[in-house]
């Protein structure tokens, strides 16, 4: 991989160089434009009144005092939305239970309809001239609640007497199975050794530093709506809102996601607030601006993970994996969020082969409703849950078999590609031993025993843990996704508009909320066209300007969005060749394009890019009988497979048994992302992912009171996010087996860090402590108890 510290070399292709980000200028000078920075003329301010109860019927809502409060413009409740026949929020992925029945899809109202189902559930939207007036008025709304028992405990949700939704009596959304149960049962019957573990994949709160925000405006003159919203996929947001909820034509709605301060999945979904604001903006006749307070974000941003699982790994006497059996209960929260149903199924069970040849796998997943915030995709979305399970049980299997954890992995690695796993995916390429070996070298695994002894001499315990992850990303082939229940396609769009003077604007359906697309996509286009990176402008995030794309999540932007752009660029080049052929009086097939120049093969007759672009728009000498003027092409790309980034992570920790505090002595990450466009940006993605994964493993815990359903961890005072001093610098490297099915050979890198790091950390910690398991987050007290032989 290129050195991220090298200066840019314009004589070489921009691909593989650490081009410094072009978008940085506005961010480092305070000139960015986040949704809360958007000020619309005449705007009013919205505040949502939210349920203080986890579960309650609404007997009545008295708005009289609130409506009379100073500055109040309007107040909307579920009643107004019901009268207007506003629909509920849809779920985008249909899962079927083992018995063939479709998943339960209880209504997901925009504002509460008779019942509230989690603390923070939206009850009313108060609109006023100032934010303070809206907040003051919200306190005057009188809601008469009849409290109901709260369903909080995940494991007991399907057997408690209380239903979160009246039409789902057992709180079970679906009971799904995947794999070959008979083959797994047969393998277990013959197994020489079985390792069994139970896990909780702890519930997390994404906490992008920019809280959710929206500003919705209705334009009376053309009866259209504009919604500014902190969102990762404006077209999806628009489609869902228009087609399924508000019944508006998409052609009358423009969704703009300006600068967005982090998403990690939490800003994918269609949220009730966005819909309520859009609907109300017409009624109020003025824009309505809303920005979540952090405590509001805690309560209502989709949470992540929250699985309880048991897993069993069957092996023969030599440590070859024979079968894996998994049983998981997954929390959907109170309502089905946009992709919630797919996260613990399609994005999870299909990865249970990991990097291994395990021939038989069977997983059962039960998804249940509870009186907690909706749970949906969060960095990794299903793949961290799968990897945690597989890599923890493999590490424990090594311990049970008294084998080296690297050796047991190598013994079971898939080595020939393409490889069709027993859980439905075909890995196209990979080289797992290569990154494991590189990680072991970087981590100086050989020197570990000496380091362990040195720690012991100081009275400290030291441990080393591995995680070899694989994920499926570059989401996704639409036909496969559709067959698996997706209600949307997962292609991507790219439009390349060449200007007469030769600069280029690229419109991409991908969205950057930190990933640096304005730079990396420009590198890709500049390389392919042979023009300076600075001559390529990337536009994203606006349904009014960009063709329909599915947005950014699932590490798909470069693999899918980048490929769509490449295909559009290739169309531009193809047309450019025809124009050049005309200008050079040669046959189309004799034209070559290289380094920004079109030339006649075998001669030095050539014409520069700028001449061709100008000719396209000033078509005086132009084959108008055969070719249209202009040089503006778009492409929609539907991938033929997922991509399969994989890697090996090694974590080394030292434990202070007196306090339970853990110091991460080193963290090594070697990833195979295929080809790399910008090493600096790729490394940054890995750093951030590792930090979030370590946050999950070390300190992040979303906790609801089991009786009242109150969110106990409702602010940064109680929900611990990693600070700089909590985690170390990382040792990052890459290997490369280029993706076989996209022209860039890229696999995507946005989620890997969060996928591989939790098991690496817990494996290291359990190694240090000599225990079988330690629950995440492994808080100092948990570690202290394990270190001192106290009950958990």
């Amino acid at each position: 991989m290129g050195n991220m510290n090298e200066p840019f070399d314009p004589s070489k292709s921009p691909i593989g160089q650490s081009v410094r980000r072009r978008e940085d200028r506005r961010f480092i000078t305070g000139n960015a434009n986040y949704t809360d920075d958007v000020v619309l003329q005449g705007q009013t301010f919205g505040v949502f009144l939210r349920s203080p109860h986890a579960h309650a019927r609404i007997r009545s809502i008295d708005l009289a005092a609130a409506k009379a409060a100073p500055g109040v413009v309007d107040i909307i409740t579920g009643a107004e939305l019901a009268d207007a026949k506003v629909g509920g929020l849809p779920c985008g992925w249909l899962i079927h239970s083992k018995d063939g029945t479709p998943m339960k899809e209880p209504a997901h109202p925009v504002l509460a309809q008779g019942k509230v189902r989690h603390v923070g559930d939206q009850v009313a939207l108060i609109v006023a001239e100032t934010l303070l007036q809206a907040k003051d008025a919200a306190e005057l709304v009188v809601v008469d609640y009849e409290e109901l028992p709260a369903v909080i405990d995940l494991s007991a949700a399907d057997s408690t007497g209380t239903s979160v939704h009246d039409d789902v009596s057992d709180n079970t959304c679906y009971d799904w199975g995947h794999g070959d149960k008979a083959a797994v049962d047969a393998a277990f019957a013959k197994a020489a050794k079985v390792t069994k573990l139970s896990f909780v994949n702890n519930r997390l709160i994404p906490n992008a530093i920019e809280p959710r925000a929206a500003n919705a405006a209705y334009n009376r003159s053309d009866e259209s709506y504009t919604l500014y919203v902190a969102n990762q996929n404006p077209h999806v947001e628009r489609l869902l809102m228009c087609a399924f909820v508000l019944g508006l034509p998409e052609s009358k709605v423009r969704v703009i996601a300006p600068d967005v301060g982090g998403g990690f999945g939490s800003k994918i979904f269609l949220y009730p607030e966005d819909v309520a604001l859009v609907w109300a903006s017409k009624r109020v006749g003025r824009p309505i601006k809303w920005t979540a307070e952090r405590s509001e974000s805690f309560l209502t941003d989709a949470h992540g993970r929250d699985h309880v699982s048991t897993a069993e790994l069957a092996m023969d006497q030599d440590g070859n994996f024979l079968a894996l059996r998994v049983k998981t209960i997954a929390n959907m929260g109170a309502y089905l969020s946009t992709f919630a149903s797919a996260v613990p199924t399609i994005l999870y069970a299909t990865l249970l082969a990991g990097q291994y040849k395990t021939p038989a796998i069977y997983a059962e997943v039960k998804a249940v409703f509870t009186n907690t915030a909706p749970v949906d995709a969060y960095r990794g979305a299903g793949r961290p849950e799968a990897t945690y399970l597989v890599e923890r049980i493999v590490e424990q299997a090594a311990r049970d078999m008294k084998m080296d954890p690297a050796e047991i992995r190598k013994k079971n690695f898939i080595t020939t590609f393409p490889y069709a796993t027993p859980v439905g995916l075909t890995y196209d390429v990979g080289g797992y031993a290569a990154h494991l070996d590189k990680a072991m070298e970087l981590a100086d695994v050989k020197g570990f025993p000496a380091r362990k002894a040195a720690s012991a001499a100081k009275g400290k315990k030291r441990g080393l843990g591995y995680a070899c992850y694989i994920e499926a990303c570059g989401i996704a082939p639409s036909n496969i996704a559709g067959a698996l229940g997706a209600r949307a396609g997962l292609f991507e769009a790219g439009e390349v508009r060449v200007h007469p003077t030769g600069t280029v604007t690229v419109f991409t359906g991908s969205h950057s909320h930190g990933q640096g697309h304005e730079t990396t996509f420009a590198q890709v286009v500049a390389a392919r066209l042979g023009i300076p990176v600075g001559n390529v402008e990337i536009v994203h995030g606006d349904t009014g300007r960009v063709p329909f794309g599915m947005g950014t999540y699932g590490s798909r932007s470069l693999a899918v969005g980048g490929t769509a752009i490449v295909k559009a660029v290739d169309k531009v080049i193809a047309k450019g060749k025809k124009i050049a052929a005309h200008l050079l009086e040669a046959a189309d097939s004799d034209i070559e394009f290289e380094n920004g120049e079109f030339k006649v093969a075998g001669t030095d007759k050539k014409i520069a890019w700028g001449n061709v672009s100008l000719t396209a728009y000033v078509p005086h000498n132009f084959p108008l009988d055969k070719l249209e003027p202009g040089l503006n092409e778009n492409a929609f790309y539907d991938p033929t497979n997922f991509t399969y980034p994989a890697g090996s992570y090694i974590c080394e920790v030292e434990v202070d048994s007196d306090t339970g505090k853990v110091k991460i002595e080193q963290f090594v990450a070697v990833d195979d992302f295929g080809n790399i466009v910008n090493p600096m940006i790729v490394e940054g993605q890995v750093h951030g992912g590792i930090a979030q994964g370590l946050g999950q493993a070390m300190m992040e815990a979303c906790a609801y009171d089991p009786e009242s359903g109150q969110l106990v961890t409702g602010s940064y005072m109680d929900y611990a996010m990693p600070r700089a001093i909590d985690i170390p610098s990382f040792k990052i490297a890459t290997t490369n087996t280029p993706c076989s099915h996209n022209p860039l050979g890229v696999k995507g890198c946005g989620e890997a860090g969060a996928i591989g790091s939790p098991p690496a950390y817990i494996n290291a910690l359990t190694d240090a402590l000599g225990v079988v398991d330690l629950a995440m987050p492994a808080t100092p007290e948990r570690v202290w108890r394990a270190a001192n032989g106290l009950p958990a």
Binding site: T659, G660, A703, T713, A720, T779, R785
Partner: protein, 265 residues
């Protein structure tokens, strides 16, 4: 936040008159109060901002110790040459509160008046047997912290300064709660003129003296002696950051580290 009437007096007397009569709070650095007001957890009719009263910020060495003005920021205490010379543990304690931005605004007077059960200063005040000077009397450290968010202060009473006797063999060690960065357990150990004193914060509803550890250290001022003390779990806080059993155990562990740090001076 709820509406309030705002005043910014430039003298102590003006501050006292401003506080008289109405439902009033003093605003010191605001690092706790402003947040409480933002979250609508705190409400007063009148806010009296002490920030313009220059003589409340003074830090002065005197006689046997150092007197720190109530409005001295944590940053100014941490970097003050007299505090570092006379009561270095207090300079270090101040330098570990919150983060650099909090330290540029937060004040010692505001901290002890607020009496957050996990604030650092109360442990230091107790360990050093500091004297709290107000506009109307002096209050001994042992009498100051009376309950959860409660102090001996009367309505309208204004802290003017806190006098710390000199103590060399003293140290404060803070074990940070991972989320809030307040003290999960903070222990200040000081050898004072009146004997060893151990101030503990984060463990109970208010800072207190761990007399069991004081007794052990009086016999043997060593880390081992502190660590050997098993603090009882009575009245010890329990929450998702630490059970009572864990916190109680950490008091001895952190105290022993404070003793080691004190001995290392």
């Amino acid at each position: 936040m709820y509406a309030f009437e705002y005043q910014r007096p430039t003298s102590r007397d003006a501050a006292k008159s401003a506080a008289a009569g109405a439902d009033t709070r003093y605003l010191a650095g605001g690092q706790s109060l402003i947040q409480a007001m933002r979250l609508r957890l705190s409400q007063s009719e009148r806010l009296v901002d002490l920030g313009a009263i220059a003589d409340l910020k003074a830090i002065k060495a005197d006689g046997n110790g150092v007197t720190i003005g109530a409005m001295a920021t944590h940053a100014s205490v941490a970097s003050n040459a007299d505090v570092k010379r006379i009561a270095p543990a207090i300079a270090e304690l101040a330098g570990g509160i919150g983060d650099p931005m909090v330290r540029n605004m937060g004040t010692i007077g505001g901290s002890i008046a607020n009496a957050d059960p996990a604030a650092c200063y109360p442990a230091g005040v107790l360990a050093f047997n500091a004297t709290i000077h107000t506009d109307r009397r002096t209050i001994a450290a042992d009498d100051f912290f009376t309950g959860l968010w409660e102090t001996a202060l009367q309505p309208g009473e204004l802290i003017t300064a806190i006098a710390f006797p000199a103590a060399q063999k003293a140290a404060y060690v803070k074990y940070k709660q991972q989320a809030s960065r307040f003290a999960l357990i903070g222990v200040c150990v000081a050898q004072t003129a009146g004997g060893v004193r151990v101030g503990v914060t984060g463990a109970k509803g208010h800072a207190f003296r761990a007399t069991e550890i004081e007794n052990a250290l009086a016999k043997s001022f060593t880390p081992e002696a502190a660590k050997a003390v098993k603090m009882p779990t009575t009245d010890i806080n329990a929450d998702l950051h630490g059970s009572a059993e864990y916190r109680a155990a950490m008091i001895g562990v952190i105290a022993s580290r404070a003793v080691a740090a004190a001995l290392a001076r």
